[in-house]
Amino acid sequence: MSEYFNYDDITNARIADIEAHDPAILNAKMPEDLDEAVKLISSLLTYMPEEKRDAAVRSFIAVMLVS
């Protein structure tokens, strides 16, 4: 294994998992309602334990505003 950082296998597996979902959900535009949006995005994060998904989405939304 290379000493240099390579996360491709993990990231690619997660993205493949996301892309295996219904295209109608994948391509859905973001609703105005936050709770509805969190539910929609969470439904795609099946590589993640279910109990962590909603909090992860909310945290991601806040973090991306200050990046």
Binding site: S2, E3, Y4, F5, N6, Y7, I10, T11, R14, I15, I18, E19, H21, I25, L26, N27, A28, K29, M30, E32, L34, A37, L40, I41, S43, L44, L45, Y47, A56, V57, R58, F60, I61, A62, V63, M64, L65, V66, S67
Partner: protein, 382 residues
């Protein structure tokens, strides 16, 4: 802390002792070098190529360390990990390969009349801002960006561990970043121009929202983080970037900055932790506010202030600096070594040699100058 090598422990001890103003065997060398590392690399990638390839970033960061041997780093080429923004189809950074620069655009995401709503329900306003920042985004793009952000986090963990275990070189600060509420609006939500006008036009509502943030978010989170995070393998526990103070007059500092900064500093001090203050522009106007804290709490990295002036004004703080990008980029190796020697001699204990700015552009530094300084500081004995 149990799994640290003896070499790393010795380096960390030297850094922490320096902050405590203890006499140490040699002056630590602190890298405030960012994108310049990519431009200096013998791998010679385009900036855009480097920024999208974390394996390449890792290689260049290692190449940098093997050439210059810094004791501690502000950045492990982890500052602009832009994969999540890129997959969401828009961001506020522009990578310009021709100019060899990464620019961050001032932008307005939040409307002036949304302060009150932010005080009551910050997440609801966050969501409005998110949709403005990433219009037309799909659920699939957000989910993929989240997977890529996890890659960012893994990169940072990997680099910190590698630098600790392989190079015995430290990361400057732990995970806690403490800032006054206004910084968030200034840089990210309202933009510099609008936020600066808000200080004059919306005083009352700003106090309402800042008070609410302090009570409901900032102080409880800081307390929890101070009690649960153990980042004692980093040089400092907490990072405090001072950015927006530069746009304030002293009266505004007294009203909008210091009352929200002091409780955070006090809480950090009560927990026996150390604070790394990264200060853009100048701190001297506000020096008196920091003079009564005990020695060993602050390490200040000033941008425009001469390290000697900071030492005179805030003698209880350790200081990092002494070399300007102007000199590193345009002087000779001899001139750079002379400047390093003068700074070390003038400052005495509680001083780390560093660069006054985030070294980012090609002309900020020349390899032969940095090599000469590194050779000097690594062989100098106090």
């Amino acid at each position: 802390m149990d799994n640290l090598t003896p070499e790393y422990r010795a380096n960390l001890r030297r850094l922490k002792d320096c902050i405590q103003h203890k006499h140490i065997d040699r002056v630590p060398h602190f890298s405030n070098i960012y994108t310049w590392k990519i431009l200096d690399s013998d791998l010679k990638p385009k900036l855009s190529e480097a920024m999208s390839n974390y394996t390449l970033l890792d290689k260049m960061q290692c190449e940098f360390q093997e050439r210059y041997h810094f004791d501690v780093h502000f950045d492990l080429l982890n500052r602009n990990l832009l994969k999540p923004e890129t997959v969401m189809g828009g961001n506020h950074h522009l990578i310009n390969d021709e100019a060899e620069s990464i620019n961050f655009f001032d932008h307005v995401l939040m409307n002036a009349d949304e302060y009150e709503e932010y005080a009551k329900d910050p997440m609801a306003v966050n969501w409005k801002m998110f949709r403005r920042k990433y219009p037309d985004i799909t659920a699939g793009q957000v989910a993929k960006a989240m997977a890529l952000r996890e890659e960012n986090i893994a990169y940072v963990d990997h680099m910190k561990k590698k630098f600790r275990d392989k190079y015995s070189s430290a990361f400057a600060n732990g995970r806690i970043v403490a800032q006054v509420p206004y910084e968030r609006f200034h840089k990210y939500y309202r933009g510099i121009k609008e936020a600066t006008m808000d200080l004059r036009r919306r005083k009352s509502v700003l106090h309402d929202v800042f008070d609410s943030m302090m009570e409901n978010e900032i102080m409880p989170n800081l307390k929890k983080q101070l009690e649960t995070f153990d980042d004692s393998d980093c040089m400092c526990d907490v990072m405090m970037p001072f950015l927006s103070h530069a746009m304030m007059n002293n009266k505004q500092w007294d009203e909008f900055y210091w009352p929200y900064l002091k409780p955070q500093i006090d809480m950090i001090a009560e927990h026996g932790k150390t604070i790394l203050i990264y200060c853009e522009n100048s701190l001297l106007r506000f020096a008196e506010y920091f003079q009564d804290y005990p020695k060993g709490l602050f390490l200040i990295v000033p941008e425009l202030d001469d390290v000697r002036d900071i030492r005179k004004a805030i003698p209880n703080a350790a200081v990092a600096g002494g070399l300007t990008t102007d000199l590193l980029g345009h002087g000779t190796p001899e001139e750079c070594v002379d400047a390093a020697k003068r700074a070390i001699d003038d400052m005495g204990d509680g001083f780390m040699l560093s660069q006054n700015k985030m070294v980012s552009f090609r002309n900020d530094c020349r390899r032969e100058n940095l090599l000469a300084v590194c050779e000097y500081v690594q062989s100098y004995r106090c």
